[in-house]
């Protein structure tokens, strides 16, 4: 099947190659990218412009419209990692596509969690006067970040693609199990040792309609960013894997040629 499909292409590569710009983009991703940019524009317009200042938090509430969506999408990304890992492990075919999706999703999740922590620190400096508080949610998020850094490290251990996939699938599924466990323990930890002031670190602000709408735009925008990044990252990963396989093909040919040399024993 592959032979019939490659034959016409290789015989007439000129126009086809020229028609397509090299890269991971397709018409669909370009359209999606355009929509994403529009959504980001909306988010900036609503977040920084139209939405009103909060009664308590004043202008700094505007950070919420990027801060909360990033962590939500990060959680979604880690759940996607776990689900794709599960599908890889338990499906009969053990398709590497699921493994790559899991890996790409974790990378994007780590990026988003890092942004959450960074922006959260800025916000914390504004509202609390300090960059970091040992609040339950912050601590959980920090642990989440480190856990998935570990997951990405496991992906880079080397070995065959399936080895990488098996190992990281196990870690990906355990890590998602850990989220509720860590969350619960940290919540309990802080609730027993009540701080003097109850700090608000989340989106539980009483909101008016426009603020809620801005947050909604934020979630839409970041979800679109996530999908767009996923598409491109999985495609890049697929090519990296293909290049590895191609490298094996060349190495095999080289190894065989080594034996066919006239000074060889055979």
């Amino acid at each position: 099947m592959t032979q019939t499909s490659t034959a016409p292409r290789s015989s007439d590569p000129g126009p086809q190659r020229a028609a397509r710009r090299p890269g991971t983009g397709t018409t669909a991703t370009r359209v999606l990218g355009g929509v994403t940019l529009v959504a980001i524009g909306w988010l900036v317009a609503f977040g920084l412009g139209f939405s009103p200042a909060d009664r308590d938090q004043e202008e700094s509430v505007r950070i919420l419209y990027v801060h909360v969506p990033t962590i939500w999408v990060a959680y979604v990304a880690f759940v996607v990692t776990a689900v794709c890992s599960g599908i890889y492990m338990f499906s009969r075919r053990h398709s590497l596509g699921w493994d790559r999706a899991a890996g790409a999703s974790a990378e994007i999740g780590v990026l988003f969690v890092a942004l959450t922590l960074l922006v959260g620190a800025l916000w914390g400096r504004l509202t609390w006067g300090v960059f970091w508080q040992w609040d339950a949610r912050l601590t959980t998020t920090a642990l989440l970040f480190v856990t998935y850094i570990g997951y990405l490290a496991v992906r880079r251990l080397g070995g065959s693609h399936h080895q990488r996939a098996r190992r990281s699938a196990v870690i990906g599924m355990l890590a998602v199990l850990l989220i509720p466990l860590v969350h619960w323990s940290v919540r309990l930890w802080r609730s027993l040792h009540q701080e003097a002031t109850v700090l608000r670190t989340d989106g539980q602000v009483r909101m008016d309609g426009l603020m809620l709408f801005s947050l909604f735009v934020g979630v839409i925008a970041f979800t679109l960013i996530y999908v767009w990044l996923m598409l491109h990252r999985t495609r890049v990963m697929a090519m990296e894997d293909a290049l590895d396989d191609h490298g094996l093909e060349e190495a095999l040919a080289a190894r065989r040629a080594e034996g066919d040399r006239p000074d060889g024993e055979r």
Partner: protein, 228 residues
């Protein structure tokens, strides 16, 4: 042979290796004790030390856990025994439980020594009404640490750079154990003013959930983790 008999065989082998080589006795226990002394240097106040003694005990245990896990897999990889175990068709679940059991025994001994050190050096006191809670906490926390250590140690065993990979993987994962065990021991010892023994039991529940989750995970996943 049944999974359990193989697990006991492996655990017995690990403990016998330790009895002969004395690496844990002569190196890991002193290391843990030195850590406790260093904590005292860093927190130079009697009152603070007494208050944070349970946390320091568990922190020292975690650092020692990393060393113990390295040692536990060093004896398997030094002369290719891990490969031989795989060729012998040893059930990965049995291997997992065997190594976890041996690790748990070593950890338990270490924890008792560390608590003794805390009593001597930091002035922590073991009170009678908290004894049951203390022992239960030790047992569940030890099981949790042993299964997590064995699981991630097996993953890291075959690789260069495992000395750095293992802490990166294990420390964030055992954070709930550190929190839970510390709070439970605080309640048992009453090191924090006003701590009641009954406050410790929910934490033991957390530790138990943790141990079961990773025990099941390890039983199912150890094969794919150590295989090529």
């Amino acid at each position: 042979m049944s999974t359990w008999r193989i697990a006991l065989l492996v655990a017995g082998k690990d403990l016998r290796v330790e009895r002969r080589s004395r690496v844990v006795t002569n190196q890991v226990v002193p290391f843990a004790a030195v850590t406790m002394v260093m904590f005292a240097f860093a927190l130079d106040a009697d009152a603070v030390l007494q208050r944070v003694a349970p946390g320091l005990v568990w922190l020292a245990t975690l650092f020692s856990l990393l060393v113990l896990v390295q040692r536990s897999y060093a004896i398997e990889t030094d002369d290719g025994a891990l490969d031989a175990l795989r060729v012998a068709g040893v059930d990965p679940a049995a291997l997992f439980w065997g190594k976890a059991l041996a690790l748990a025994v070593q950890l338990a001994v270490l924890e008792v020594i560390l608590i003794g050190t805390a009593v001597v050096l930091y002035g922590a006191e073991v009170r009678a009404e908290g004894l049951v809670l203390l022992v239960t906490t030790l047992v569940t926390a030890t099981c949790s640490l042993a299964v997590v250590g064995t699981l991630y140690g097996g993953l890291a065993a075959g690789f260069r750079g495992r000395e750095t990979l293992l802490p990166l993987l294990v420390l964030p994962v055992v954070a709930p154990v550190l929190i839970g065990a510390t709070r439970a021991v605080e309640a048992a010892l009453g090191t924090v003013p006003g701590a009641v023994v009954s406050e410790g039991w929910p934490w033991v529940g957390l530790l138990a959930v943790f141990a079961v989750a990773f025990g099941v995970g390890g039983t199912l996943a150890f094969g794919p983790l150590i295989d090529e």
